[in-house]
Symmetry: C2
Subunit: 587 residues, 2 copies
C-alpha cells in the first residue's frame, strides 16, 4: 500500500505500518542484545536493562551523539520531533547503525488538544497507541512515587496533630512540625485537571487529614520525573529522590522525603521505570523513549540513561532538546551534558520557511485559525530578514563548541528562491545546511540531512560550558540572558533576590545547576517579539529550588504546573475497536 | 538452601525461590501457549492474550473449577490466600495440571499496615516485588481511566458555567446542567490518603474549574475496577464503561460517561489491562493475577476473564472469594457465576482452630496485641462449640449445590484432639475434611487437601442460584439475610426505601445483580457477635447503584472508600538495593 501523507491521517499511516513492524526480538537481534538485556512488554514494546548493557559494553567507544533543536518556533511548532525521527530514518536508509532517544508524552496533552508528539507523515514512531497511552507505565510510576510522598506528609501532619510527644515516641516518630503554609509539593495526576489546581484538603474529622490548602500538578511536572531524566544510574536516582524537599518546618528548615521515611518506598515504585523503553520508527529503526519532564520547569529532555545506552548500541544516537535552542539546547548543553559527562558531535537546528517568514515580519500564525496568506506566497525578503533568528541560534550552538547543521524542514509551499536564500545565509555563517522532506518521503527524504550530519560528526568538537558551577547565580543568569537570549541585562523581583541570597549562602544549593524558565516563542520573555529582539532586560520573578533534581529554576514569566482541558479535547474522538483491540482517534 | 518458614521471613523465602524461578517462557511452554498468546512483561511476569487463547481452545472442555472461601475469620485472618496458593502447589505436587487466579493487591494496604497478600511461608506467589508494586500496571490503568471521567466532568461543568448556549453549540456541546451537589464519583488514587477524603476543588478563577465539594477514593474502589472483574470480554467491558453514572443533572437524570463523550477514551487506557497477568507459586505453578476490586463495595473477586482462561489452560483452576463464605462465596455464587455462566465443581472452606475457638467463646484476638493464652492451650470444648459457624457456612455452600471441602489450615499450636473434633463434626455434616500444612511444607503439606479436592470435583454438581433476577430487590435481600446470614429479617432506612422504589420502578435497574455490603467478622452486621448469632435483623442503611458494573449494593453498616494511612506504615521500612535493583522490606 502506497503511504501518502498528503492523503492519509497520521494515525492511518501508523496503523498501516504497524501491520508489519518488527518485533522487539528482531530489534534486539539487530542491536546485538542478549536475552537478559531485553525485557519485552508485549511483542512491540520493550524495556532495556541499562545496567547489563552498560556493563557488557563498557569498553566499547560511544557512537556519535546528535542533538536536535530548533529556531524560535511559531505557535504551530516547526516539526522538531518529526525531524528527529526523520533523521533517524535517513541515517537508517544510508545503512548506518542508528538509534534515537525521545521523550514520553504526557496523558494530559494526549487527551487534550496537543496530541501525542509521535512525529508526523512518514516520520513517526510506532506503535502509536502504546506510545500515546503510557507505554510501560513509567509516568504512572512517577505518579505513584510522587503521591506516596504526599500521603506520607499529610498522614504525618495528621498524626502529629492528634498525638502527643509520648505517643509519637512510642511509634519511633519525632515531631517534624511541618508548616501547613509551606508545603512545596502538589499532588500529581497525568491529565489536564484545572479543577484540582487550587483545592482545600483534610476536611472532615480529626482522622481525615490536616485541613489546609493544596494543589495538583500534571504528573510530568513532578520532581521525580525530572530526577528520572537526569539520573546516571539507580544509585544516583535513589540519592536524588531522598533529597526532594516536600515542605518546610515551622522554623524554616526543609523537610525531605528521607525525613518522612518514604524515599526508599518511592524508589521501590520506580525500579522498573529506570530502564529505557524501546519502540521503532515507521522504517524499523529502534527508538528509546525515556522520561518526559515538563519542559516548562524541568530539563525538558529525554533521559541521560537512554543516551548512555543508545551511544553504546549504535554508531549514531539522535536525541532532541525541548523547545528552541535558547531554551532546550541551552539546558542540554549546560545541564544535561554536565550531569552526564557526554559531548555532542553535532547539533541540528530545525528551521521552517514559515517560522523564518514570521521572524521577518509576517503575521504570527495561530493554531485553529486560517493560515495567513503570506505563508502561501513567496516572500524571499521576509525569509532573509527572519534568518537573523536562525543565525542567532547558530551562534549559540557554536558557543558550546558544537558543530551546527541547519535542517530546513520542507513544506510544499516553500519556493526554491526562499530555500536558496536560507542556504546561502547559513553557509556564509559557517553552518552546514540540508533540506529535508522526511514528512513526505520518510528516510528517503532525509538523506541530505543524514549526509550533512554524518559529515558534521567527523569534525572535531571543542565542547565547553557557558558557565562554571562556582560562578554565583546572578552571574550565571546574566551570562545566559546576554549570551544566549541577547538581553541587555537582568532584573530581579524581591522574591527572587531573597531566594538568591538563600542559595548563595548555602554550600549545597550554590553548586546546583541552573535551569531557566522563559517562553520559547521569542528569544526574549515576551512571546510577541520575533526575530532577534534588542534593547530589553530579562525580568526574573522567582527562583524555584529542586534539590533532588539538582538544579535551581530562575523563572522569567508565569508558569502553570497544571494545564487546563479545553472545551473540545481529543478524548471526545478516542475509542477502541472492540474486535481488534486497536485504539482509534489518537493523533 | 533449606527453606524454613519458622526461621525465615516471608520475603526472605520469596527472594530465595526467585533465584531459580521459571521464566514466563517456560511457564508458557508448559501451558502449551503459542508465541502470540504470551505477552511477556520482563522475564518473570506476563500478560496472556485472553482472546487468542479462548478462540484457539473454544472446543476444549473446561477444567475443574474450585473456589476457596472461609469461615467467619478473626481480625487476624485465617489464611485464605495462603491456602489457595497451597492448594495450587499441592495439586501441582500430585502431578495435576493446575493453574490459579487471584486478585491484585492495592498499593494502599501494601504501603500501609496490611501488606500485599502474596500468601505466606512456603505457600507464596512470586516475584513478590512485582506482585506487590503494580505488576503490569492494571490498577494504574484503572486510575487513569477513572480520573479521565472526572476530568471530563469538571472541565464540562466549568465550560458550561463560562460559555453561553451559542458558544457551546459551536463546539458541538449540549448543555448537560450537571448538579454539583449530585456528583456520584470521587477521584481515585491507589494509596490510603485520608487527607483527600473530603476536599473542596475548583477554587481560583473561572478558568480553574467549578467550585464544589469533592472526594478521593482508593483506586481499587473504582467502578472501572469492578467492571474489569465482571466483564466477559472487551466488548462487554466497553459497554459497561459507557453505563457508569458520573453525576446527575439538575432534573435528576443520570449523566453517564457516554454523555461526557469520554467512555471510549477511558476504554483506550484499559485495552492492555483486560488481559490477565501470569506469575507463579514458589513451586512453579502458574497463577493468574487479574483485577482487585475493593471487597467492601464490589464483588471482591479476581476476574471472570482470568477464570475463563484458567479453565481452558489447565485441568484444575483454583480461585478465591474475598472475605468469609457469607460475603465472598455468596457473591461468587449469585453474582460472579451468574455473570460468567461458570459452575464451580468444589468449594473449599478454610478454617483454623484459632477461629473456631474464637467462635466457641475464647477472647477475640487483635492485630498488634499479644495472642490470648487460650489460643496456645488445648480447648476442645471451644473448638466443638465454634464449629457451629463452620457448619453454617457448609450449609450455605450446599445451598448452592456445590461440594464443600473443609480445609483445616494447620498451626503448630493445634492439638490432635482439636483437629479430630473438627473432622468428626464436619464429616457428620457430609463435608470432606483435610488438614493442610502448606504454610510449613508447601505443596507437600497440602497433599491431603489436594486429594480431597480432586475427589470432590468428581462428584455431580447441582448448581442453582439463591434468587432469580426477576425477584424484587427486598425479597432478594431478605432471602440472602435469612438463608446465608441467619437473620430473622431486614429493616430499611428511609434512604434505602427510597432507592428501592427507584430501582423497582426502573426496568434496567431492576435486572441488576445484588452485591451485599456487611462486615465479614460476623455472620451478622455486628463484628463482635461470633458463632452463629440468633435473634437479629439486618439493618440496610443505603443502596448504591453501579450501572456499569451491573449491580446494586445494599449497605448494612458503614463503609469508607478511602482507608487511612496509620502512624507506622510499611513504607517506612521499604527500600531498594541499588546494586541489584531488588526491593526490600515488603511483606
Amino acid at each position: 500500500m502506497k503511504l501518502d501523507p498528503t492523503k492519509m491521517k497520521d494515525w492511518e499511516i501508523a496503523a498501516e505500518c504497524e501491520k508489519h513492524m518488527k518485533t522487539v526480538y528482531q530489534l534486539a537481534d539487530e542491536l546485538g542484545l542478549t536475552k537478559e538485556e531485553l525485557l519485552p512488554y508485549g511483542h512491540y514494546v520493550a524495556k532495556l536493562d541499562y545496567k547489563l548493557i552498560l556493563e557488557r559494553l563498557k569498553d566499547r567507544p560511544n557512537g556519535k551523539y546528535i542533538d536536535v533543536t530548533a529556531i524560535t518556533p511559531t505557535p504551530l511548532g516547526e516539526g522538531k520531533s518529526t525531524t528527529s525521527i526523520g533523521l533517524i530514518e535517513g541515517l537508517g536508509k544510508r545503512g548506518k547503525k542508528v538509534i534515537g532517544a525521545l521523550r514520553q508524552p504526557s496523558g494530559g496533552p494526549t487527551m487534550n488538544i496537543k496530541g501525542s508528539a509521535a512525529g508526523g507523515g512518514l516520520a513517526q514512531i510506532i506503535p502509536l497507541d502504546k506510545f500515546s497511552l503510557g507505554l510501560t507505565g513509567d509516568i504512572n510510576a512517577v505518579m505513584n512515587a510522587h503521591n506516596l510522598a504526599l500521603v506520607a506528609l499529610t498522614a504525618r501532619m495528621q498524626h502529629e496533630a492528634n498525638y502527643d510527644d509520648e505517643i509519637l515516641a512510642k511509634k519511633n516518630l519525632r515531631r517534624l512540625n511541618i508548616d501547613p503554609k509551606r508545603v512545596e509539593l502538589g499532588w500529581v495526576i497525568d491529565f489536564c485537571a484545572q479543577a484540582l489546581r487550587h483545592i482545600v484538603i483534610g476536611l472532615g474529622g480529626k482522622m481525615d487529614g490536616y485541613p489546609m490548602e493544596s494543589k495538583f500538578w500534571i504528573a510530568v511536572a513532578s520532581e521525580v520525573m525530572a530526577i528520572l531524566a537526569v539520573s546516571r544510574d539507580l544509585k544516583d536516582f535513589r540519592e536524588r529522590i531522598g533529597r526532594i524537599v516536600v515542605a518546610f518546618d515551622k522554623y524554616g528548615n526543609p523537610i525531605t522525603t528521607e525525613d518522612l521515611e518514604v524515599a526508599g518506598a518511592m524508589c521501590a515504585w520506580m525500579v522498573d521505570a529506570i530502564n529505557p523503553n524501546m519502540i521503532q520508527t515507521l522504517e524499523g529503526q529502534p527508538v528509546l523513549i525515556h522520561a518526559g519532564p515538563f519542559a516548562n520547569i524541568a530539563i525538558g529532555q529525554s533521559s541521560i540513561i537512554a543516551d548512555y545506552v543508545g551511544l553504546k548500541l549504535a554508531d549514531y544516537h539522535v536525541t532532541e532538546s525541548g523547545f528552541a535552542a535558547d531554551i532546550g539546547f541551552e539546558k542540554f548543553w549546560n545541564l544535561k551534558c554536565r550531569f552526564s559527562g557526554l559531548v555532542p558531535n553535532c547539533v541540528v537546528i530545525v528551521a521552517t520557511i514559515r517560522a523564518l517568514k514570521c521572524h521577518g515580519g509576517a503575521p504570527i500564525p495561530r493554531p485553529g485559525q486560517p493560515m495567513p496568506k503570506e505563508y502561501l506566497e513567496e516572500h524571499v525578503d521576509w525569509v532573509e530578514k527572519g534568518c537573523a533568528n536562525l543565525l542567532h541560534h547558530i551562534e549559540t550552538v557554536k558557543k558550546s563548541g558544537s558543530n551546527p547543521v541547519v535542517c530546513i524542514n520542507a513544506f510544499y509551499t516553500d519556493t526554491k528562491a526562499e530555500i536558496d536564500a536560507v542556504r546561502r545565509i547559513c553557509e556564509e555563517a559557517g553552518a552546514r545546511v540540508a533540506v529535508s522532506e522526511h514528512w513526505l518521503k520518510g528516510g528517503e527524504g532525509a538523506l541530505e540531512l543524514a549526509d550533512a550530519v554524518v559529515d558534521a560528526c567527523e569534525e572535531p568538537v571543542n565542547f565547553r560550558f557557558l558557565y562554571d558551577l562556582d560562578m554565583p547565580l546572578k552571574d550565571r543568569i546574566e551570562r545566559i540572558a546576554k549570551e544566549v537570549y541577547g538581553a541587555d541585562g537582568v532584573t530581579y523581583s524581591p522574591e527572587a533576590e531573597k531566594k538568591i541570597q538563600i542559595i548563595d549562602a548555602d554550600p549545597e544549593l550554590r553548586k546546583l545547576g541552573t535551569c531557566m524558565v522563559k517562553t520559547h516563542l521569542s528569544l526574549s520573555h515576551d512571546p510577541n517579539l520575533k526575530g532577534v529582539p534588542k534593547g530589553w532586560v530579562l525580568p526574573v520573578r522567582d527562583i524555584l529550588i529542586y534539590r533532588g533534581a539538582g538544579f535551581v529554576v530562575p523563572v522569567a514569566g508565569t508558569i502553570s504546573l497544571m494545564p487546563g482541558t479545553a472545551s473540545d479535547p481529543a478524548y471526545r474522538r478516542i475509542d477502541v475497536d472492540v474486535e481488534t483491540g486497536k485504539v482509534t482517534g489518537l493523533f
